[in-house]
Amino acid sequence: MNYIVLVKQVPDIKNIPNEAWDWERGTLKRAFLDNVCNELDKQALAFAIRMKEQRGGKVIALTMGPPFADEVLVYAMCVGADAGVLLTDRKLGGADTAATAYPLGQAIRKIKEEIFNGDQNYIIFSGMQSVDGDTAQVPAQVAEELGIAHIAYATSFSFADKELRITRITRRGSQTVAPLSYPCMVTVTDWTHPLNASFIRTRWAQSQKLYTWSAADVKAEEARVGLAGSRTTVFRIFPPRDVSKRKCIMESDASKLAQMIKETYASKLAATEEAKEEVTYHLPEGKTPSYQGEVWVYAEQEGKEVNAACLELLGKAVELARQLKEKVGAVLVGDGVSGIAKDLIAYGADKVYLAEHPRLREFLPVPYAKAVSEMVGKYLPQIILFSATPLGRELAPRVAYRSNSGLTADCTSLDIMDFKRGSQELFAILRQTRPALGGNIMASIITQHSRVQMATVRPGVMRALKPDYHRTGEIVEYSANVTDADLGVRIISSELRPLTSEIKDAAAIVCGGAGCKTREGFERYIRPLAESMGEFLGTEVMVGGSRAAVEAGFIERSHQIGQTGQTVKPRIYVGVGVSGAVQHLTGMQNSDIIVIINKDPNAPIFRVCDFGIVGNMEDVVPRLAQAFSAERVEVAA
């Protein structure tokens, strides 16, 4: 067995130097950031190298980038890769994910022929996503380009007899699968500590020559690479939110504070990240829309139920379809899931496109992508939205690639606009806005050279409509043509397990600092506050700690928020006894709503808060918790 590891050089967004910020424009100057190897790709390397240690073979690291991206290949070789392949060519620059996946696929074919001597038995590894783009699209699209299976969110491997088994995280727990054929793609999520480099290995690596290939070397068609081959284009970069514009409202009455928090929280839920007035799109007279067709939503199901995030998408789709004067379609794929159709209609779908098949009982990317793209090809919608859930992030890239369409990942705002740049004029197209570079900038993107505009949407950002079970709609059945050969993997076992959420993904956080003084103080005030707030807001609230709190042993390091811990972007962050050293601020200042409780009115953290209350934790926290509880009862009544 041989291994190819896709590695990417990314800007070091964990250590952003001060001079890298363009404060006037609120953006990051890329040139001031150090370049590092994408963290999850280091994990992928570790995965491949550990596997090689057990089963032998060669590990080849592959990257596409400017000539200086050779650094990541040298890194890969320092920690155990046998050779590095640098795919570099000016023609490849400016590529979106599809225009990246295609030449990478070509390079992989060449590696197979020339380095593996035609041997099909290899696995391609990659990190699940990169920290800069954070789209998770390239590996899935490389798999689509090669027409192979993709095992996403891999966390460990084992060998049963000679059979390789890979355990992966699923929405509902974990799953162990075995690839049915090779090659296959495995994307790795947090798995182990990245490997270290020994001096001896490093010295060897630096004495080696890399394979350096151009677009022509890998026989990549020019029309499919670089800017020309890209199906999305970024047309605007802007700051996520001006931190200095936070109005620090100081309030001494805990119940008033609770009320304000609730109102702001509700209004934030409704609003998208980019502040904008309610606009209704009007097509300029005499112009034709650049895209035609319905507005679709991929209806992610979990057996008998539809995923909540998909209902939010339907809300958005209704809004877009109204402006475009089109119908809303929902795509439902699975086995025995037709019962969900009525819910989809109630939440806004005019049509439900239903593909049922026994082979579609469990989600697998290849057959699902096949079914969805066949429907796309047949009914030609103009927009299709997916939820940026783990499943959506596996499925959407493949559907987009198969349908020759652009895809924008993880959008937080979508609307209809006209677009003019140079001689290019587009009408009634979808503006797709998303955070990039770890949430430090926002980018607005449009689709180009595509039949359909596709986007995945961050769960929790859009608002679902109130269901109306009197609505009627049409059910369009589609018979999907899936075979056993499409499955790609054999599911050996699935394990249901309560989801362990990570603080970096938390929607709401209560964070304790050194001001909690003792572990008992932390337990006594922080956790109960999180609980009452959770019930109050109707969402799960996670508990975090500042570095000082972690050092003092109040809470585990995995919950540390700040520069050397996790960067969080919850909708609401409540800091208790956190003074606000800049190291902490960089980890939480992009939170939507920041509420601060601190006894020191001069604590720097008050400078970045929306709401503040000065006082001792022992006094304020119980009052606030009580206000939360009282409020909740009132609402229920």
Binding site: N18, E19, A46, N196, F199, R201, W204, V582, Q583
Partner: protein
Amino acid sequence: MNEMNKMDALFVGAGPASLAGAIRLKQLLNGKNSNASVVVIEKAAKLGQHNLSGALFEADVLDELLPGWKERKEVFVTKMLANSVEKDEMIFLFGQDKAARLPESLVPSYMHHRGNLIISASELVNWLGGIARQLGVEIYTGFAAQNIVTGNGAVRGVKLGDKGLDKEGNKMSNYLPGDVLEAGVTVFGEGSLGLRAGEVIKEFGLDKGRNPPAYAIGVKEIIRLPEKNNFGPNRVIHTFGFPNSKLTPDVYGGGTLYSMGPNLVAVAIILGLDWRYSDLNPQLELQIFKSHRLIKELLQGGEVIAYGAKTLPEGGYYSMPEVVANGAMLIGDSAGLTNPSKLKGLHYAMKSGMLAAETIARAIEGQDFSRETLRTYQEELAKSFIGQDLRAARNYRQVFAAAGRAGIYLGAPLSLVQQWLPGKVGLKPDYEGMRKVRLNRKSTGMLDRLTEVSLSGTSHREDEPSHITFADPQECARCGEKFGCHPCEYFCPAEVYDFQDDKLVLSPSNCVHCQTCRVKCPLQVIRWNIPEGGDGPRYKMM
């Protein structure tokens, strides 16, 4: 990969001394068609990240190392040549708002800087590193030397630090033991307070009969000024007096402001580490310095974009150890080569590396790395301008120390005549200066220490074993009583030490590797070890 741990010459620490040495050595070897290997290891993740200096550079040394260097096209060269000193001022600051410019005739000649080039040590190191690599020098960053390796009375090389240990020192899944590097000669160019150089000095008794070393701390900020500013290019200012005059005339030191270009200024204060105040916080002193009316005016509209701190050897000639042992040489700051009167060491560092290289080239030819052969370096060093300058300034720091409370009022005039003082003036270790006296400085409301720490870019893996340990933690309580506070809480420029309710909360990940704590811990309890390779500050233009 059998021989991958063997090399002919190993330089420990990729600073100006090692890189100049490695360049010179490779030039000589290439000239003889020898393919002997020259390796440089560096604990920083990337070149230049652990290098900090003022820095005024007397560039004559480059004429010798890289003839025709002025014609080179690199950005660094153009920038350096554009940044030569044209305005050179010496200013005495009285109190908070008065200042007097010293007429040039009164400024001793060794303190004239016109024609010097204002540079960043980080950038110099990057430039030298590129040249070295082109010549065939192998440079490996992210590797820290954990111990020296000796055998048969000679240094044989170094053992690198292990990687992948957890906080308690247990092996994690990515544990990797450090390799043992074997070299014909190991050259220690680790900078001020080099740990492995210290090991060599101790093991081979190289400091016998010498004064104890003395150190100063430099705390530095890079400030970006508006396009239109009051400072201007090509200008250097040295100050003495405030914040150390009046209240505290007995802290030896001064301030520097160097323009690094049209709208960048490097601002620093340098303080002798023999101060007696238990609550002196050098980072705060820098803020107070910047609050002086004159300085504030010069820096108006400025924004701090980078921060760093380092120690520098100030003991001078009489504190210098022997610089060779069997299989080992000391160069640059590791050999104590800073001129305390000029506060300049870059050109000494580079020249010492080059002199060492010339001796090594011969040693490689004869495959003899004994002390006797390597001694040529020590002799050449003494004969060179380095030896002459250092001898001339031999009692400089000592007279300041001896002047005691009268400090700069007596020390400054004395320093002018120090070279005529008979013989060697003795020196006490810096930590012995600590007393139970407080400065009680008020915060200036300017930058706090933790913000500055973030501007140094420092980072350490949070779950690695602490690189700072205590010989006897009980002693900290005694220290608190003896000095009325915990001095480490104050003297550390990176807020590594914090006492809450008399309980120490240690933040080793804040550390900027200046090692002031080793010098200044009054009971000498703090042990500073080398963290995992790749950790530490990330200076770009320090």
